[in-house]
């Protein structure tokens, strides 16, 4: 069942196309994230959905109710803002009741629902505090309670955690996810933090320059990036430009700075085409020179340039020719197996883990 349908929505600011013909189908109860670098149009799209901006073409539907043209205050959206936007002149309780009053909910019920909402975000006992007596995390909880208490059809959150410190951010995102699942409320969440997006979402739309590059489950966008931008934006990736030298049977071989990379032919690349290769650091296994390599792996030999010991893992930078290096992550951090700088090593990866993207992709 559809929760929110966005069909061919475009928004321009003068010559700038901040949202370019965007279409998304969001399931009822889904936690959907808009992810992308700053300025890519996430807020713009969210504000179109909320009704703060009028989009130019296309439609927006909540369920099967068309909402574009309906002013924000009649759309039934709950919003959570980056700067909390908690009313400073109202107590915690009155902030939460604000939307209920507007809906003319009887006073008795107001109090009941407000205290339930505050319990949900674990703010019991702070009902009568004024916002200036609360911490950032508490303020954001008030904002969430205030948005949830009106039982909105959709919940919209624009980088709600970016003003909190790193530790609280991780803690709060877990709470937000739990709350959302408990209430089953259709949610659109905006963030530029890919780790946050991966950890919290049912599905993610990755955006760049007002365009949705890819929509998918967290593991889909991570493991099967649809284009070079998505591959580069989510997680860490070894990326290089190269050219297909040979392409025979199931195997294509590309060359970059004198180093050959084996690629799966299923990507349909023809000989001579210019491509970009994306190879995740954890897809590469690092081995001693004489160690055997399983079938279906491509093998490279290189030299350790430097390494970073991070406890649970080790990051190696391995060099081949002067300007080709690979970042490799090894979770085998056993002291005896740590490689030294200058040591020659064998690298291998399953050829299907090397993603190729055609350079001539339409921008």
């Amino acid at each position: 069942m559809p929760g929110i349908s966005i069909r061919n929505v475009t928004k321009r600011f003068g010559d700038l196309v901040a949202a370019n013909n965007i279409s998304l189908e969001i399931e009822k109860g889904e936690f959907f994230t808009l992810l992308g670098p700053s300025g890519c149009g996430k807020t713009t799209l969210l504000r179109c959905i909320a009704g703060f901006l009028d989009h130019e073409g296309g439609q927006i539907l909540f369920g099967d109710r068309r909402v574009d043209g309906i002013p924000t205050h009649k759309r039934g959206v709950g919003m959570v803002f980056q700067n909390y936007a908690v009313f400073p002149h109202l107590s915690v309780q009155d902030n939460v009741k604000y939307g209920l009053k507007a809906r003319r909910v009887p006073a008795r019920e107001q109090a009941e629902r407000a205290s339930q909402a505050l319990a949900l975000v674990r703010l019991e006992g702070l009902e009568d505090r004024l916002p200036n007596q609360l911490s950032g995390g508490q303020l954001q909880r008030v904002a969430i309670a205030r948005a949830l208490v009106i039982e909105p059809e959709v919940l919209l959150m624009d980088e709600p955690l970016s003003n909190l410190d790193a530790k609280l951010r991780v803690e709060m995102r877990g709470e937000i996810r739990l709350l959302q699942q408990k209430m089953g409320i259709t949610t659109i969440y905006v963030t530029h933090d890919q780790e946050e997006a991966l950890s919290i979402s049912d599905r993610i739309a990755v955006m760049e320059y007002g365009i949705v590059r890819q929509v998918g489950k967290p593991w889909e966008v991570y493991v099967q990036p649809g284009d070079a931008f998505v591959a580069g934006f989510i997680g860490t990736t070894n990326m290089f430009d190269s050219e297909i030298k040979t392409s025979e049977g199931g195997l294509a071989i590309a060359q970059c700075g004198g180093v050959s990379f084996g690629l799966s032919r299923s990507d349909g690349v023809a000989q001579g085409s210019q491509i970009q290769i994306a190879l995740r650091p954890e897809a590469i296994t690092i081995r001693d020179i004489e160690e055997p390599v399983p079938d279906g792996h491509w093998v490279l030999e290189g030299e350790i340039i430097r390494f970073e010991y991070l406890g649970s893992m080790i990051k190696y930078e391995v060099g081949f020719s002067e300007n080709v290096t690979l970042l490799v992550v090894s979770y085998d951090a056993e002291p005896a197996k740590i490689k030294n700088v200058g040591q020659r090593v064998k690298l291998s990866y399953p050829i299907e883990r090397a993603k190729t993207f055609r350079k001539d992709r339409p921008q």
Binding site: A50, T72, H73, V86, G99
Partner: protein, 552 residues
């Protein structure tokens, strides 16, 4: 343009349009008729250049331009000398009682400059108390009448503009910016000149331009202390109202010259500010230099002296008002005669001042707050026009506005000349821009998400404006309204032109008192005015410290 009449924007666009029309009808048209009048003969309205030719020909006229500009320029330079070092010390040194220094510095802006001029004469006039003292020491000294006096009064009255704007400039130069400069190997003095000064310069310059504009349009000070020397605002008034023989055409021509001067300086300011990014991120704080012992005491003493000197005349006026007087002669006996006279004969002007200021302030708030809201939150093609319309009153000297309103509302379909409404109208025109500006600057600091949160919770934009926006602005609006009220009761330059029998004000009575050497009455009125200004000011400083600070 297409969505100007969409229902969503309808209310605000209509409001903007109404304000726009009001500005045109009550300001642009009247001033234009002055402009037109300056090119017509008084007798039959035929086109002529006679008035402007007279302006060039007669010494009194062209000299009045030279005097006004010269004196204002001199005052501008002196305010820099007075205010910039002061701002530097207050910003960067650990002086004692800084909030007091800043609070004291704002007082001169709130009190009528001609009272200051009047009291300086009591001290340094021909028979002044201090003048006598100086002469008794054997130093030849006549008085401060003339150019020197005008420049001095302007300087001590208007320096706060430069001080406050420079102060916020110095405060917003981040310590780290200066550190970077120093770490690149430049010495502290050079760093200051090369790194900090360019950041502070816009503040200094726009403060100075404000001083210039305020000075050039000032009517009371040259009238009181200028000793018959011609000045533009005074001359225009004289030509317009003189008992001997009125020359309205000449008054119009002088008004046009005055408008040209004020317009030019406003344009210069806007042009200059547009090229510079005035707003710096004030994340960090500047480094405060820790002075110790005598150095600290000396610097603190110096700063207090500088901010207290401009307050001396007001203190003198207060004291004198309790002394016995016969004409210009002061007898050192305590007496309430001045007050009993003021209250028994002049209750009406006191009431008038309060009444007119209250009416004008209320109207200014009702129009100015939505105008400020449109300026910041509803920026559209209409918003830009509004911005310009709201700037306009700043360029029209009070005297000129008075003349223009009389000309416009003398006859025709709306006759206001001779009623109290024309005074209220003039005050509203002059003060509304201030409320609009200050509302807009309060709104800049208010996160729009606050209003959006309310709307998303189901409260429509209109109600949100009243329940959230106005509520969050209220402290600032009240502070701004009080300041408006305070400066309105001391308005002289348009009042003097527009006053009608029965609607004289305290400033007018006081002014007449000064001119007719009735020092007793003048000082009593001065004191009432001072108290009427200081009390609300203290309320603001006490209650609305936060909001009030954004108003200057």
């Amino acid at each position: 343009m297409k969505n100007i009449f969409q229902s969503k924007n309808l209310f605000w666009n209509l409001t903007a349009l109404l304000i726009f029309i009001a500005v045109i009808y009550f300001l642009v048209v009247p001033v234009s008729s002055v402009l037109v009048g300056s090119f017509q003969t008084e007798e039959d309205g035929a086109w002529t250049l006679k008035n402007f030719l007279s302006f060039v020909k007669y010494r009194t006229y062209w000299k009045s331009l030279a005097n006004s500009v010269g004196v204002s320029l001199a005052a501008s330079v002196l305010t820099i000398v007075m205010a910039v070092p002061l701002a530097f010390m207050v910003s960067r040194w650990n002086l004692k009682g800084k909030p007091f220094i800043i609070a004291l510095s704002t007082i001169p802006l709130m009190l009528p400059s001609f009272i200051s001029a009047f009291a300086w004469i009591i001290l340094l006039g021909r028979a002044g108390i201090v003048s006598e003292l100086i002469r008794s020491l054997g130093i030849p000294f006549d008085s401060i009448y003339g150019y020197f006096g005008v420049v001095m009064v302007f300087t001590v009255q208007f320096y706060p503009y430069v001080f406050l704007m420079t102060l916020s400039g110095f405060n917003s130069v981040d310590e780290s910016i200066e550190e970077v400069g120093r770490s690149l190997g430049t010495g502290p003095v050079k760093t200051f000149i090369k790194v900090s000064m360019p950041l502070v310069l816009p503040g200094i310059l726009s403060g100075t331009l404000l001083v210039f504009m305020t000075a050039v349009e000032n009517f009371g000070v040259p009238m009181v202390i200028g000793e018959q020397k011609p000045f533009l605002a005074v001359q225009a008034y004289m030509e317009f109202t003189s008992d001997i023989g009125q020359h309205p055409g000449m008054a119009y021509a002088l008004s046009v010259v005055l408008i040209m001067v004020t317009m030019t300086s406003l344009m210069a300011q806007r042009y200059y500010l547009r090229k510079r990014n005035f707003i710096q991120s004030a994340r960090g704080r500047p480094e405060i230099k820790e002075l110790r012992g005598w150095a600290r005491r000396f610097a603190t003493g110096y700063c207090f002296t500088v901010v207290l000197i401009p307050l001396i005349p007001f203190f003198v006026a207060l004291v004198i008002s309790f002394l016995e007087m016969r004409g210009p002669v002061i007898h050192p006996n305590f007496s309430l005669q001045n007050y009993s006279y003021a209250f028994s004969h002049m209750a009406r002007p006191i009431f008038n001042s309060y009444f007119l200021a209250t009416v004008a302030t209320l109207i200014s708030v009702v129009i100015g707050v939505p105008a400020g809201y449109i300026l910041t939150r509803r920026r559209s093609s209409i918003g830009d026009g509004l911005d310009f319309a709201i700037m306009l009153p700043f360029t029209i000297a009070g005297t000129v506005l008075g003349i223009a309103l009389i000309v416009m509302f003398n006859t025709g379909f709306l006759v206001l000349t001779g009623t109290w409404m024309i005074l209220a109208l003039s005050y509203t025109i002059r003060k509304m821009p201030f409320i609009a500006r200050s509302s807009s600057s309060i709104l800049y600091q208010l996160d729009p998400a606050m209003e959006e949160a309310s709307i998303s919770l189901g409260v429509n934009p209109m109600k949100t404006f009243f329940k959230i926006t106005i509520r969050l602005m209220s402290g600032g609006i009240i502070a701004g309204a009080i300041l408006t009220w305070v400066t309105t009761i001391s308005e002289l330059s348009s009042t003097i032109v527009l006053q009608t029998p029965g609607w004289s004000t305290m400033t007018v009575e006081m002014f007449q008192g000064i001119l007719s050497d009735d020092m007793g009455m003048a000082s009593a009125f001065a004191s009432i005015l001072i108290v009427s200004a200081i009390v609300p000011l203290l309320i603001i400083i006490g209650r609305f410290k936060e909001e009030g600070s954004s108003l200057f």
